[in-house]
């Protein structure tokens, strides 16, 4: 695998456009354009070569661009026209908007966030210590089961109450919630004992529909 090449320090934003690209997310979410899981689903629609080679915040721009076009916040033609204009005149100022509510929103959102915990009307099926198997099916829709866990057996080590469920919420099916657990896997279970670190383990969060009880 390629080296990580970490940096000791780097600025939060590498260029001015990254600030606005990043803030597109909270403002578009505030406007009701999408929720977090729907945003992630659209990130995943990028061409893999583009995804892998893009600037990080370019992913966010792509997702907002796709959703805004799909939901008619703008037409592709209008967006292309304006893009060409700003490409030609990069120093032209943006239109004014002095609404103080938008600045207040920044303060409010950073301080409060958007909790994903929900109440559901049924008890969790599983308990800490249970051995479970992760669903290995490969749906076409957005989900949050990392590939390395599929079909693998692990042990529930934490329970977090019910959280918003990405498989419905992110796929235009309305918000639902499911019980959420943390599952611990040995490296040997994930990668085979011959190829695994014998003294390392992996923890991955799993919503209840992702798991079934392991046969002992």
């Amino acid at each position: 695998m390629p080296p990580v090449e970490p940096t000791g320090w780097e600025p939060p934003y590498h260029a001015a456009w990254e600030k606005a690209a990043w803030a597109l997310f909270p403002f578009a979410a505030r406007a009701g354009m999408f929720g977090l899981d729907e945003f992630r689903r659209h990130l995943e629609k990028m061409h893999p070569l583009h995804y892998l080679t893009a600037f990080y915040y370019e992913h966010w721009v792509e997702a907002v661009e796709r959703i805004g076009t799909e939901k008619a916040y703008w037409s592709r033609g209008e967006l292309d026209k304006r893009t060409a204009y700003y490409l030609h005149y990069p120093d032209v100022r943006l239109p004014p908007n002095d609404d103080p509510a938008l600045v207040d929103f920044a303060e409010w959102a950073v301080k409060n966030g958007f909790p994903a915990a929900r109440d559901v009307g049924h008890e969790p099926k599983f308990a800490i210590g249970d051995r479970v198997v992760i669903d290995a099916s490969v749906p076409r829709h957005h989900h949050r089961r990392p590939r390395y866990t599929m079909g693998r057996t692990g042990e529930i080590v934490m329970y977090h109450g019910a959280h918003v469920f990405p498989d419905t919420t992110g796929n235009g099916k309305g918000e639902t919630a499911e019980h959420l657990y943390t599952v611990r896997f040995s490296q040997a279970e994930l990668f085979g004992s011959e190829y695994a670190d014998p003294n390392a383990c992996q923890h991955t969060d799993m919503w209840e529909p992702y798991i079934t009880r392991a046969q002992s």
Binding site: L24, P115, A200
Partner: protein, 203 residues
């Protein structure tokens, strides 16, 4: 003959900047966004929210066992005692390094990171090599990429932030730091030590 297009032409940075400005201008005209709002968001994470906040929390945990117990039980609640919390830290869990266990954090699916205590993530945290390698070969990744040699007898626990739970690490307090003030201790606690790709600095 079938034409196969295998060439991918990425946008230039100037093209992306223009695209961002185009989207921004439409949202501004619709009353949904403003330059002042963008500036405020950007500024908060440039100057107010960053790893210094996480360092304060860890330093307090090092000197106050009751606080440490509360932090390890419910990091969201414990951080709220210090006025720390919010966006991307709505559900935080702090995991403690010990002489027997070393923890390290990743988001294998995208870029999830505990903003209230660490600020916005560096690009390497969001990169494909880190996301793949820390899961597949954590000990080797720490050793080769971060010059952090974790002996084979110490268990490595990797935490994937694939849900809205934000994991972060309470590093071990270094020897020789007895009697230091909270502020001095906080100076030993680096961003990487709270991701688990580094250790706290020695006193």
């Amino acid at each position: 003959m079938t034409r196969v297009n295998l060439v991918h032409t990425p946008r230039t940075e100037e093209e992306i900047a223009a695209r961002v400005k185009a989207i921004e201008s439409i949202l501004i005209e619709k009353g949904l966004m403003s330059e002042a709002g963008v500036d405020r968001f950007a500024e908060i994470y440039e100057h107010e929210v960053g790893p210094k906040l996480g360092a304060q929390v860890v330093a307090k945990a090092w000197i106050d066992p009751d606080f440490k117990a509360r932090l390890l039980k419910d990091a969201t609640e414990a951080c709220a005692e210090l006025g720390i919390g919010g966006l991307q830290g709505e559900h935080m869990i702090a995991v403690e390094n010990t002489p027997a266990v070393h923890n390290v954090v990743v988001c294998s699916l995208c870029s999830c990171y505990p903003w209230p205590v660490l600020g916005l993530p560096p690009n390497w945290f969001k990169s494909m090599p880190y996301r793949a390698r820390i899961i597949r070969e954590p000990r080797l990744c720490l050793k080769e990429d971060f010059q952090l040699d974790i002996p084979a007898e110490i268990e490595i626990r990797v935490w994937d932030s694939n849900s809205e739970i934000r994991y972060w690490v309470v590093p071990q307090r270094p020897e020789g730091s007895e009697g230091m003030s909270v502020d001095a201790l906080a100076g030993l606690i680096t961003r990487d030590s709270m991701i688990g790709t580094g250790l706290a600095r020695t006193a």
